[in-house]
Symmetry: none
Subunit: 158 residues, 2 copies
């Protein structure tokens, strides 16, 4: 990515963010819609897939990203136990949607319920995906992560 050559005459060329990063606090409205941070919207031009994710949060993938993950799964035997787990949890939970004209995405009721979302939500950039967290769960997760970050970094050799 990265090395952009001729700067666009546009001035601030809002070029495509390659990886998601950062933390945002947005509100879900009455209808279960959530605004995607403006800088990330271009990545979702082709559509977005919302699904269940680990630690009781939701993940939002650009469609292409999701497809490449799922394509990997479809190569494997459908009766494999691990594959079934994946299919039920992730594919079964997957909701495909486009952003509306305001850059919002609708979150189906059963996913909101799974992640405990309502009112405010925390949007986390997590490289290949966005994660949506119920605020309390996010803070708990952060506290948990802080305790083990030292070990993790040395495990990873960073």
């Amino acid at each position: 990515m990265g090395n952009q050559q001729a700067p666009e005459s546009e001035g601030r060329s809002e070029q495509l963010e390659t990886y998601f990063a950062g933390e945002f606090s947005h509100a879900l409205d009455e209808k279960g819609r959530l605004a995607v941070p403006a800088k990330f919207r271009a990545r979702f031009k082709e559509g977005a897939v919302v699904t269940r994710w680990m630690n009781e949060c939701l993940a939002v993938f650009p469609t292409s990203e999701w497809e490449s993950i799922n394509a990997e799964i479809r190569k494997r035997p459908r009766t494999d136990r691990t594959v079934q787990t994946f299919v039920h949890f992730l594919v079964g939970g997957a909701h495909e949607a486009d952003l509306d004209a305001q850059g919002r995405i609708g979150i189906p009721a059963h996913l909101r319920e799974y992640a405990g979302l309502g009112g405010d939500a925390i949007v986390i950039g997590a490289n290949d995906r966005l994660e949506l967290w119920q605020p309390d769960r996010w803070h708990a997760r952060l506290a948990q992560v802080e305790g083990s970050i030292g070990d993790s970094l040395s495990d990873l050799g960073i």
Copy 2:
């Protein structure tokens, strides 16, 4: 509709969904009919096959998909124990049907009974098939899956 005769005006920008995904809650009516989610109906133009499936749910395959699975089986020796299991469980349970004009499919009584279906049912998109679940069974299955999703993802190298 159709005041202009574009040949495949059927098309719509929303073209055929390639794989099934997502979760839907639909009701079985008095007559044992279940509405197939509208976005998937095109995949069942050639017909659908409903049959028993793992974890006491039902599976709905597009006819072509079912055919390719069953063709695979027919190549194998009919005395093979696994083949016999497959034939009794899946082929024996198979019910071929078309969607009605409202996009509903009729589920025979013996299959409804097997899956405990009546009143509400959960429809799960599972890549190559739809799965029909009795709500309580589905929630139990989800709870079970949730516990092992982390391991599954790392097993799959995701």
